[in-house]
Symmetry: C2
Subunit: 478 residues, 2 copies
């Protein structure tokens, strides 16, 4: 018996089937781009978001909760911002049978409601820096093809952080802090990534500049899995967020915002998964160890096998390892496929021979075998869990490294972007940049952070032949 998942090469089918079979999300909810989290999926999500939240807590952000409903007048305060969102905002127009006096948007992001309150919260430089975040739903009226976790109308886990500072340098440094935080988060998930500065025409509406974090999905497309914006004083001016400086002057605050959505879960699925299902880093797997009795002995042996399994589960749980006894009536083969499908890092088997040897057989999600002595089970299991996480992290990182290819010609670039990222030269001119996108038929992700002309063999702009002013990444995108 094997699972009936399509091979991962057929990525789109594989992804949709895996979401359903592994019980992450149910796509059958009868509204476009709106899905239901299954218990298993939500458990995974909680493990991932707990880390994302603790990273924010530890770096001095306070958690808050702001309203979903945004009166139109507030959303419209910053001109570029509303222009960027007006085609995709959902509007609430009626309460019961009555039309509302002022219609309200379902938040597409929280700059406008938050900065309305910043105006009230911030009086003096002693109130700065202000650093808050929330994890909440946001909505976009997507007209394109929707896809669970990736392109949705109802986004159910948008982590957005917003900060205000007394100086432009404070805001610039905070963008760097945000990117470090995201690097740490994605390292934790074993999701390799590139960080680029988005070109002018693709920055966040209302921002001075935007950095984005992208990873590579198995179909060769870049998935944007985080953004960080330096908002300068644009919103502060629109929302009148002033403070008294140390010298007694009035100034507008300097702001940043940065966000990550449940695309981080899609990245974990896409980057690590294989033909047999999910492959999860030990740190976030809802079940880290499935303990499977192999009752192929006589009656006494089988009772001892079951007892041993229960003892192992208890010991692991007591040590903070999420272990589960699989005493279902399925045959061992069916059990293996089920735990594999769900990405369980380790399976521990106990049969008659294991009783004799005094150790359980461990099989990790990649098929590698090891032993856990009954007396050293916590230590042995922990080592194997750590080793597996390390291995999938390294494999994924190597894959990404290999997929970034320097290209001197459009033909090369067109080839490369079928499977990865093309690195090309650009003279920095917007028209030339957009022509590059058109010629290759992709998006310009932008200039990789800390990487420029001179770090590669590329010397000229791929479009004009001028000296390259920037080295930029091109990719197909979601």
């Amino acid at each position: 018996m094997a699972n009936d998942l399509p091979p991962k090469e057929e990525f789109s089918d594989w992804y949709n089937e895996l979401l359903f079979q592994a019980e992450i999300m149910d796509v059958r909810y009868p509204a476009k781009g709106v899905y239901v989290w299954f218990p298993f999926g939500y458990d995974l999500r909680n493990n991932v978001y707990d880390r994302l939240k603790s990273l924010h807590d530890e770096s001095g952000h306070d958690e808050v909760d702001f309203p979903v409903l945004i009166p139109e007048g507030i959303l419209a305060k910053e001109g570029e911002h509303i222009a960027g969102f007006e085609d995709e905002v959902f509007w609430v127009t009626h309460g019961g049978r009555k039309e509302l006096d002022e219609r309200m948007a379902l938040r597409p992001t929280s700059e406008t409601p938050m900065y309305t309150m910043f105006d009230l919260w911030i009086r003096s430089h002693t109130d700065l820096p202000l650093k808050i975040y929330q994890v909440a739903n946001i909505w976009r009226s997507e007209t394109e093809h929707t896809r669970p976790l990736i392109r949705l109308r109802e986004i159910t886990g948008f982590k957005e952080a917003h900060t205000a500072h007394a100086t432009p340098e404070g805001a610039e440094e905070q963008v760097e802090t945000a990117l470090s935080l995201y690097e740490e988060f994605y390292d934790f998930l074993g999701v390799p990534h590139v960080v680029t500065e988005r070109p002018e025409w693709d920055k966040f509406p209302g921002a001075e500049y935007t950095y984005a974090v992208d990873t590579l999905m198995p179909d060769g497309k870049a998935l944007q899995i985080g953004t960080a914006h330096n908002l300068g004083q644009n919103f502060a001016e629109a929302f009148d967020v002033e403070f008294e400086t140390q010298d007694g002057e009035q100034d507008h605050v300097y702001q940043t915002s940065y966000g990550v959505s449940e695309r981080c879960i899609a990245a974990v699925m896409g980057v690590h998964g294989d033909d047999n299902g999910l492959v999860l880093p030990s740190e976030v797997a809802p079940t880290q160890v499935a303990v499977v009795p192999i009752p192929f002995g006589d009656e006494d042996e089988n009772a001892e096998i079951m007892e041993t399994c229960e003892k192992i589960v208890d010991e692991l749980n007591d040590a903070g390892i999420r272990a589960e006894l699989d005493d279902s009536e399925d045959n061992p083969g069916a059990k293996y496929y089920k735990w594999e499908l769900k990405g369980t890092p380790l399976r521990a088997e106990v049969g008659p021979r294991d009783l004799e040897s005094g150790s359980a057989k461990l099989v990790n999600r990649l098929g590698d075998e090891a032993e856990a002595g009954f007396d050293t089970v916590v230590k042995d299991v922990r080592e194997e869990l750590d080793a597996l996480s390390e291995e999938i992290r390294e494999t994924a990182a190597d894959d990404l490294d290999a997929s970034v290819v320097e290209c001197e010609t459009y033909d090369e670039a067109r080839d490369v972007v079928d499977e990865g990222f093309a690195l090309v030269g650009w003279n920095g001119d917007e028209d030339a940049g957009k022509r590059i996108e058109d010629e290759v038929g992709v998006d310009m992700l932008g200039e990789p952070r800390g990487y420029g002309v001179g770090d590669t063999a590329i010397e000229t702009c791929i479009e004009t032949g001028d000296d390259a002013k920037k080295i930029v990444l091109l990719a197909n995108t979601y």
Copy 2:
């Protein structure tokens, strides 16, 4: 210097000021019935909801997340249900500039989206019982006076659980389980409560019967802080949720739903608070111990005081007690008022005399003093935290007990409901019941669970003089 909170007797003003001064919610968000959680308030909320969630996890509920957006066709499937909500549902009618093909409701509660999926999830008796819950926002287009945490348009912490069973008894027992769970939750918060079966005309739209949990607020009004509904097969029939029984027959499932909202936070504030601010049970206080240095010695002594305070904070934190050093520049008096306002259970002071005695002075939120030896600080502090929780629990329980008064006449009842609950006889007839409500000018909460005729001296219906068939509670309500 004292705080400038109105006295608790002026409950409405006290409540609104306390929400703001203690930094629980900011009411200045410019939309009716929609508020912002401050960091401190959200921290308190997280502590309260962590317990509510773990109670559900431990009793076999799986956490899920269902959509906010409900297509109109789904919401309208159960006739009584939609009739009960149609005056207060917010409608999303537009996405960007386009009108939607079908308008969508912001969920007022999740029976309809969840049972749409139950139809797909449940096939056989082996899928039952199914027990899920979520904590999420819901919306009601309230036209009445709104009030933070109590009557809102955007409810930000609705815990709703939904279950399906193979038998009517299964559903009945689950309602009892739900009520036990809520009793445990409110005991944890030290919030005394009465559980009653709501009269027929006040049950949940679509339910067979509804139990509710109420507490008493300082203004003499009952605050409904939890409900549990036996839905019978009403929704299962409307949503076609059938299963195959053990005998191979098809039957509709028997369902329950039960919910608690952020009113649980309002209850904690109202029941325990005093003229000086919040009084929080130790278990949920964001800061359990404020450690305050009293630097009234010479330079060496003051350095030692500060060092001792830091050591105490570290030891307490290491032991899992949420302690905070207050090394702000405020004078000690200002510090005391601040921590009092925020309901901090314990203040630990270290001054020159305490260095000599080798112990810190502990002052609990009610003003009682104790000592914590520098060598036994964790044990001593833990004892005082537990004792404080116990004391505020008992005081609150006594207050509620004293406020339930048996009444034989309308005059008595009208007096009693100014400050508490009136217990009266009722012949069980709906018209008579509604006349009782009118005569006393209150709502009938209903029959207290496990309490009936014979448990009191009351023998007759207060309205008709007939033999009383039920003993019911009356109260002013929010």
